[in-house]
């Protein structure tokens, strides 16, 4: 598995064309691996009828809302969970949060 529960990760800050299921609001953001969700086919390929590309590791990533929205109006410990496939995640070696 590419990541373990508790690993600090960052989502890619890229804007590829096509059917992408990593929402804009969560691109280039730091988070923590909450769980490994299983192996699933890549929705970016499935959307175009390409069913034969193998599977990717899917992770549920927990973000702090204050990291997602600069003007977040709520508690510091409010969180948001998203499912992100492995190719959208890189290890985050920046300072402890």
């Amino acid at each position: 598995m590419r990541f373990q529960v508790g690993d600090r990760v960052k989502t890619l800050s890229v804007n590829p064309p096509g059917h992408v299921r990593t929402p804009y609001y969560a691109r280039g953001k730091p988070g923590v691996i909450e769980r490994f969700a299983g192996h699933f086919q890549n929705p970016e390929e499935l959307a175009y009828g390409r069913y034969y590309g193998g599977t990717l590791e899917l992770f549920r990533v927990r973000f702090r809302q204050v990291d997602l929205w600069p003007d977040y109006d709520g508690a510091q410990d409010d969180t948001l969970d998203l499912e992100i496939p492995e190719h959208w995640l890189v290890p985050d070696h920046s300072a402890q949060r």
Binding site: P23, A37, A75, D77, D78, T79, D81, L82, E83
Partner: protein, 212 residues
């Protein structure tokens, strides 16, 4: 895809007529459906039966699951650790849905409130809650539930106790989420059926909490 300009001898009206002009995707759906029927791969009655089955699934299934978890702490643990297996144990097959979605139960507890949304479309645990309400699919809910969940909750009449963290679950991919609300105080003598009656659809989406 634009107008429907080829000749043939059957008419194209679906029994359920839309009020507005069809969109491109509706033309596409019509064309594919008619081809599948013409080629004998599926019948109109099979399509109708599938729609009927989908429409018949109601939030009562999810409510039964939650009530069982409230009444039986070991079932609660089971539900939290393996929701699909727990549903299966209650005779609710999640496989009735052709999608390979997995199910995750998220429990509210003091200081911890969960809210479910699908920002990208309308992913929803249909196998337990039935067809999602219109507001769940609205752009307003989808965009605001992630950005300002506390305001959205307040508009649903839900004001959380001071010090409660809000945890939003955006079901953007292959998992589906069901919120297990907290069992209300004063329900110690309730039967499972009485408990289930408190568990409404909206409490399992997380926009409100059960009340007695």
């Amino acid at each position: 895809m634009s107008s429907h300009d080829h000749d043939h001898d059957h008419h194209h009206d679906h029994p359920v007529r839309a009020d507005q002009a069809p969109t491109e995707y509706e033309y596409l759906e019509n064309a594919v459906r008619e081809l599948l029927v013409e080629k004998g791969l599926i019948t109109p009655d099979e399509i109708r039966a599938a729609v009927e089955k989908m429409d018949r699934t109601s939030p009562e299934r999810g409510a039964k699951l939650v009530a069982k978890a409230w009444a039986d702490p070991s079932f609660m643990d089971f539900l939290m650790s393996d929701a699909p297996a727990a549903a299966e144990a209650m005779g609710m097959s999640l496989k009735a849905n052709h999608l390979p979605a997995d199910l995750v139960a998220v429990a509210n507890r003091p200081g911890h409130h969960n809210l479910v949304v699908c920002t990208l479309c309308s992913c929803y645990p249909r196998m337990l809650l039935g067809v999602p309400p219109d507001w769940y699919k609205s752009r307003a809910y989808r965009s605001r539930a992630v950005r300002e969940p506390r305001k959205v909750l307040a508009e649903f009449g839900t004001v959380l106790p001071e010090g409660t963290a809000v945890h939003v679950h955006d079901s953007n991919a292959d998992l589906r989420y069901i919120v297990v609300p907290m069992r209300p105080e004063g329900t110690d003598n309730y039967s499972e059926d009485e408990l289930a009656a408190l568990v409404t659809r909206d409490t399992m989406i997380g926009v409100t909490v059960p009340q007695i």
